[in-house]
């Protein structure tokens, strides 16, 4: 019963979404207040209906209703509670339901937090949000129904894919979606602003917290994905330039540009049409990410339920939404006027430059990701683009970007003097040069020395801003601290990436207990090979002692697990690895067990210096975004026009 209820609620949400799309837009066009107000109620109702549908699916996962096909395929009576709940989005259908759920929730935020928005702007934004919901709900209902019944019902479920039974994997999709889908608000408000023919500080100030929130969630989501791929999939690296990684990185880059340009728009009234275009672009890149991962256009670990029909449906939605938005932009962008101009030599000028560099980076990655797809699809030619391409394109642009990031925040908003620029350069360039020389002397390669010097330069540049305001730190806004955390986070990441890339090493060898393998400054000694069973799996474990200079440092336990609950036909399951990790502040060492018999095992040992700081840096960036949200200038209250100018 509960599955049918869920299905009905999903269809109800779709019908409401259509009304939410049509009536408020028509009302705003005709100036009809009743129709405009209807939008707010529809957005809330639609959200409640999807919450109900999502709850119904979750209930069938928790209650082991194996008459629901999805539950039978992805749950099992031995699955722990946490993975019964996260199992809902561990598959295509449930994942899309989570997508529309988050879309519905963000849509409901407009009536809840937008009480003081101009009525027509609000009605139009809600209408466009309804249009988005209608499209994706129809996708879910028509091509990816999560409530399909299994007749006859299964006695037992197949169990959740064991590589997904991991906290980082479990929470990677919701965070990623909170990011991707959050940009729907940017998109809806951009289109609404184009329809209104007006973008102003009120618009920017209402939208900015949502941009910050989405972007910070996206940062967390990508970080979790990177961490999971690193230690569970055993990719051995934190970023592989894999197409599925790239498609999540592109909206992040565009989102980073949007976070900054909307700041300029909110405080200075500049860059309206650029910001609107960025808002459309960021959400479109999120849609492209969804399309690529869900269509199976690129093969990857995410390509469950590959189906060209679904891919085509998503492509049509993408073409429709982005196409209409860009057509609207082409038609109306001229109506958006900047209230304020700034000199190129200013903080705004530096932000514009960084915006351009972020977009150039996005385009670079876009080409790297899609050029091979298009060459193959259209000309049937094979071509692959890998790490070397990104090393020669991405890295130089990032270095340039960081150089500007060091200087920009020290400049005044609207205009600054060449004397001030000279004094900043005189402070920062010696830091850069000295650090570079020092690292060269310490034996780093020139590229590593450059990476490290640039990281230190950004760190010092950010601290100089803090120093220049040392007497008025208490009066600084939350956005200021957000800036400090964000930029320090990027400095930390830059240093960590460089140290990791130049210092990492690995090796493998077949070992008998007592024998050892030396990797980097560490010796890995195999102590024991054991077997046993736990919860819902059996395991083979290698106990390894890690030594440095003859001193025992830490034991590592690497396991191979066999989950009994997958494929119950003969009681034998699939093997997954659990890597013996020692995640250290400085060195991360780990060993994997790949092949064994009673007497010996093949052990692959890795030495990864400073890798953990890459994720810490990324989380600092996200933290910066979350801190900025507390800014009192971003509170949801009527905005005093005098305060704006």
């Amino acid at each position: 019963m509960i599955a049918e209820l869920g299905h009905i609620l999903l269809i109800t949400a779709f019908v409401i979404a259509i009304l939410q799309a049509v009536l408020p837009l028509w009302g705003a066009h005709k100036g009809n207040t009743v129709l405009m107000q209807f939008g707010s109620r529809a957005a809330l109702l639609q959200c409640l209906a999807i919450i109900g549908a999502y709850g119904a699916l979750t209930a069938s996962f928790i209650g082991f209703d194996f008459s629901v096909l999805l539950t039978a395929e992805h749950s099992h009576s031995a699955t722990p509670m946490m993975y019964r709940i996260t199992g809902v989005w561990s598959n295509h259908e449930g994942s899309m339901l989570l997508w529309v759920l988050i879309l519905g929730i963000y849509g409901a935020m407009i009536p809840i937090f937008g009480k003081h928005l101009p009525p027509s702007l609000k009605a139009r934004a809600i209408g466009i949000q309804g249009l988005l919901s209608a499209g994706f709900l129809s996708f879910s209902i028509l091509t990816s129904n999560p409530f399909e019944r299994l007749i006859p019902a299964a006695y037992e479920g197949a169990g959740l894919n064991p590589v997904l039974q991991d906290p980082a994997a479990a929470f990677h999709p919701p965070f990623l979606y909170l990011g991707y889908v959050g940009f729907s608000l940017s998109f809806a408000f951009a289109c609404a602003a184009l329809l209104e023919g007006k973008v102003d500080a009120i618009w920017a100030r209402w939208l900015r917290p949502w941009v910050l929130l989405s972007w910070s969630f996206l940062t967390v989501g990508i970080t979790l994905g990177s961490f999971w791929a690193y230690y569970e999939l055993g990719w051995g690296g934190w970023w592989m330039w894999d197409p599925v990684e790239n498609v999540s990185f592109m909206p992040w880059l565009a989102g980073a540009a949007l976070v900054h340009s909307i700041l300029v728009l909110g405080t200075r009234g500049s860059l309206p049409s650029w910001t609107v275009l960025l808002a459309i672009t960021t959400f479109s890149l999120s849609l492209i990410g969804t399309f690529v991962v869900r269509s199976g256009l690129l093969t990857s670990v995410h390509a469950f339920a590959v189906d060209p029909e679904r891919g085509l449906y998503l492509l049509v939605l993408l073409g429709l939404y982005t196409g209409l938005a860009l057509a609207l932009y082409g038609w109306r962008a001229n109506a958006l006027r900047a209230h304020d101009r700034f000199e190129p030599l200013s903080r705004s000028g530096a932000l514009v430059l960084n915006n351009l560099l972020l977009i150039v980076t996005t385009v670079t990655i876009f080409i790297g990701t899609f050029y091979p797809v298009i060459i193959k699809g259209v000309f049937d030619d094979d071509l692959s683009i890998g790490r070397p391409y990104y090393a020669i394109t991405f890295v130089p642009i990032m270095i340039l970007l960081i150089l500007i990031m060091g200087v920009g925040p020290l400049l005044k908003w609207e205009r600054d003097s060449t004397a001030q620029l000279k004094s900043i350069i005189l402070k920062l360039v010696p830091v850069l040069v000295l650090a570079f020389a020092l690292f060269l002397i310490m034996g780093q390669s020139w590229l590593a020395a450059l990476g490290l010097a640039v990281g230190i330069y950004l760190f010092v540049g950010t601290l100089l801003v803090v120093w220049s305001r040392r007497k008025i730190l208490r009066q600084q806004s939350a956005a200021f601290y957000g800036f400090v955390f964000g930029h320090v986070g990027l400095a930390v990441m830059t240093l960590a990436i460089t140290l990791f890339t130049s210092g990492q090493t690995d090796d493998l060898k077949r070992l008998r207990p007592g024998e050892s393998l030396i990797v980097g400054p560490y010796e890995y000694q195999l102590k024991d090979l054991t077997q046993g069973s736990r919860d819902n799996y059996v395991y083979t474990a290698a106990e390894i002692m890690v030594l440095k200079d003859g001193q025992a440092i830490t034991p590592l336990i690497s396991e191979a697990r066999n989950y009994r609950t997958r494929n119950m036909d003969d009681g034998q399951g699939n093997w997954t690895t659990e890597v013996g990790f020692d995640l250290g502040a400085k060195d991360t060492i780990f060993a994997t067990l790949s092949e064994w018999d009673g007497e010996s095992a093949v052990i692959k040992a890795h030495y990864h210096p400073f890798v953990i700081w890459i994720w810490i840096g990324a989380l600092l960036i996200a933290l910066g975004g979350f801190i900025s949200l507390a800014d009192r200038r971003l509170r949801f209250q009527p905005i005093d026009e005098s305060e704006v100018s």
Partner: protein, 175 residues
């Protein structure tokens, strides 16, 4: 007019993506090891735990390497075709058993037929990951020099065999 540039660029992209997706076969897109030597590995044979196998055994003649697991339903579906190829073609066929137990794999092959010249037992997916595989089944065409010449993702159906794999193998034979 300048405002329309983003729209035109986007429409061009959509058309290209639509063409790509409609023409299907995106197997080779992100495959980085095409025309690269078969990766080095050291594993054991499925039937004989003491017999070690490595990349040298893939060289010397044209070889099909087929990734399978008993847990993989499409593998079961494509298996009769592989058995047929094993019987009719003068070709080395190597199985790569992934994420399985030896017993289960052996009984699966005993039941469905074993077309393989030998089977690499890759319990943890060490070689599967090194090959850049994304799932099972996948079938690789390796030339006599041990270079990966083609990767097919998904089942080897009659059509895939007749239209893609067989012509490629004929071409490699004549090289």
């Amino acid at each position: 007019m300048r405002g329309l540039i983003p729209l035109l660029a986007f429409l061009a992209l959509i058309v290209l993506l639509a063409v790509s997706i409609l023409r299907g076969n995106s197997d080779q897109l992100s495959y980085k090891f095409l025309n690269e030597p078969f990766p080095e590995f050291e594993l054991t044979e499925l039937y004989d735990e003491t017999r070690s196998v490595d990349q040298a055994l893939i060289r010397g003649e044209i070889t099909l390497v087929n990734i399978f697991g008993t847990w993989c339903t499409p593998c079961k579906a494509e298996h009769p075709k592989l058995v047929e190829i094993g019987e009719t073609e003068n070709l080395r066929l190597v199985g790569l058993n992934w994420r399985d137990t030896r017993d289960r794999a052996k009984s699966w092959l005993a039941q469905l037929g074993d077309p393989y010249d030998f089977v690499i037992y890759d319990r943890m997916g060490e070689l599967v990951i090194a090959m850049g595989a994304t799932g099972a089944p996948e079938t690789y065409v390796i030339d006599a020099q041990g270079i990966i010449r083609y990767k097919h993702v998904g089942m080897v159906t009659d059509q895939v065999w007749a239209e893609t794999l067989q012509p490629l193998i004929r071409q490699l034979e004549s090289e």
